[in-house]
């Protein structure tokens, strides 16, 4: 019984991993499809889609918009969120619970509600929808995730290091930029990557606030009725490979570090 259980979880998990990977592999394979107009039926292998991604101009433009929105929203959200995270861990202030709730609630609010709420506000204020409103919306939903990610890093920081800096006559600014900030950097980078990923793949909130602008997901949504060009698969696959390489590198270096520490200890 015990032995059986041991194998069962390996088999079950292997099946779950295959299940998780099926649509990813499908999307990547179809980026090499020699599709003419719609990319539904396999017509043969080609590199054309990869070599001439921008032949489908609208796809490339949409991709450019998504990158621009992602970068600006990430910069804004990471700056604001890191400041809040430091304050939450290090300082005592009134309305602490209210602040925590205010950061927590956007993460638990369904995207349709966030999207419709922002759109209703822009409508009432007479703000025309466009890249600006998309960026404002994306910054909002990335902000809370940045706070959560960076907060964990601030909390694990050893305050003795900053004390040492002060003992060596470092002024507060020097202590922050030479000690605190470099120590927080891995957390900040992780938060920025998460923000960018959330922003890049967001469809629902974007759709409510984009006006006539087209982002990569909104392009896919509109094209879904007529058939997605294979170039869209190329862009999605390229982004996937890039992200996987980044994550694998960070995961393996962390695992290797843990193993080294375990050996020394």
């Amino acid at each position: 019984m015990k032995g059986f259980g041991k194998y069962a979880i390996w088999v079950y998990s292997a099946m779950a991993f295959v299940f998780l990977l099926i649509p990813i592999v499908y999307t990547i394979i179809f980026s090499f499809n020699d599709a003419r107009r719609t990319n539904i039926i396999w017509r043969g292998f080609t590199f054309d889609n990869w070599l001439n991604v921008c032949d489908a101009q609208t796809v490339c433009q949409a991709f450019g918009n998504s990158v621009l929105i992602g970068v600006v929203a990430t910069l804004l959200a990471t700056t604001l969120g890191t400041m809040i995270a430091i304050a939450l861990v290090r300082y005592r202030f009134r309305f602490r619970n209210t602040t925590t709730l205010l950061i927590f609630l956007p993460m638990t609010t369904p995207e349709v509600v966030l999207g419709a709420g922002l759109a209703a506000q822009f409508l009432q204020a007479g703000v025309p929808k466009g890249l600006g409103t998309i960026i404002l919306a994306h910054t909002l939903f990335c902000l809370s995730f940045v706070v959560v990610t960076v907060r964990a890093r601030v909390a694990s920081l050893d305050p003795a290091l900053e004390e040492a800096g002060r003992d060596l006559y470092g002024n507060p600014r020097q202590v922050f930029w030479r000690i605190t900030f470099p120590m927080l950097l891995p957390g900040i980078v992780a938060a920025a990557l998460l923000s960018f990923a959330l922003s890049f793949d967001d469809f629902i909130i974007t759709n409510f606030n984009r006006g006539a602008e087209v982002t990569f997901p909104s392009f896919v949504y509109t094209a879904a009725a007529r058939g997605i060009p294979a170039e869209a698969n190329v862009i999605a696959s390229a982004v996937f490979f890039l992200a996987i390489i980044l994550v694998l590198a960070s995961q393996f270096s962390a695992a290797a570090r843990r193993r080294k520490l375990a050996k020394q200890g």
Partner: protein, 303 residues
């Protein structure tokens, strides 16, 4: 703690004594101001919009009023979609748990002696995040389509009658929701199991508990926090989702969820009051669930 699952931090040092300082205000104000301007006031905008009435002079325009009957009207019109959303989301959450829990157990406990395999397995769980949400859902649509491999097998087995399709059914929508939100279920459970002390299982065995009894009385209660946050993280986006249920993806007119109704009313019909009222009904429903969760875990534990 629920949401830190994504940040993969392991050690949390005991917090330093918190100081009082004007710097705190400087750090907090810009972000808090942003959240008030783009989270709180939009919710107020929704409340105002949901109470508007049609302008008697200009067709298609609305004016501020206290027309609370909007809520009665939308609930009467869309109660089926509302109940369907809750049902689909609940089923998808259940299936995600059935797949996500063993997976989290496997990664957090079975793979613990092999750190590299563990790291690889975690990457596989979050891999779906890195390929476009819409494209991976479309991939399932094409796999399930009448020309696809699954339909062929099911028809030849006689499960699928002639003219019947897999896409556009409740099954395909729930399937899509389950698939898309499995990582949200797996990661928080993994986060609690990762810190689980294996000696507790040994102790259970030493006390003549069968593996099943040990699992039920020790492992399961100790992972309850992860299961709760995973459930919340899966149920909320699933209940508000309108991609999977959309006609161009895995749904049809018979699978419309509340998200689809809000989208159509807002962006297509431009019936803003109805869309706003429905959004607030959804928000209220979610807030009830969240407040139960907050009551259990307390505000300090939220982030």
């Amino acid at each position: 703690m629920a949401f830190t699952a994504f940040s993969s931090s392991t050690a949390v040092v005991e917090p330093v004594a918190r100081r009082k300082s004007p710097i705190a205000l400087f750090l907090l104000l810009p972000g808090i101001f942003y959240l008030i301007l783009f989270f709180v006031t939009p919710l107020i905008s929704l409340v105002i919009t949901s109470l508007q009435e049609p302008d008697p002079l200009i067709f298609g325009q609305f004016q501020n009023a206290f027309n609370w009957q909007n809520y009665v009207v939308v609930l009467e019109t869309y109660w089926q979609q509302a109940i369907r959303s809750a049902g689909y989301a609940a089923l998808a959450t259940l299936f995600a748990l059935l797949i996500g829990f063993p997976l989290a157990y496997f990664i957090g406990i079975t793979l613990r002696p092999y750190p590299l395999l563990q790291a690889l397995a975690l990457v596989l769980v979050i891999a779906p995040f890195f390929i476009s949400f819409l494209l991976r859902t479309l991939a399932w649509k094409q796999i399930f389509s009448t020309e696809g491999p699954v339909s062929g097998i099911l028809s030849s087995l006689g499960v699928l009658g002639p003219g019947e399709a897999i896409t556009g059914t409740a099954f395909s929508v729930i399937f899509g929701l389950t698939y898309n939100f499995i990582p949200f279920m797996t990661l928080p459970i993994y986060a609690t199991l990762e810190r689980f002390d294996l000696r507790l299982i040994e102790a259970g065995n030493d006390l003549y508990g069968s593996p099943a009894t040990t699992f039920r009385t020790v492992t399961l209660p100790l992972s309850a926090a992860g299961v709760m946050s995973g459930t919340l993280l899966t149920f909320i986006p699933a209940a508000g989702d309108y991609i999977n249920a959309s006609r161009e993806f895995l749904g049809s007119a018979d699978t419309t969820m509340i998200g689809n109704v809000i989208e159509t009313n807002f962006l297509v019909l431009q019936n803003f009051p109805a869309a706003a009222a429905l959004s607030l009904v959804l928000m209220a429903f979610i807030l009830i669930l969240v407040s139960l969760y907050v009551k259990r875990s307390g505000t300090e534990e939220l982030l």
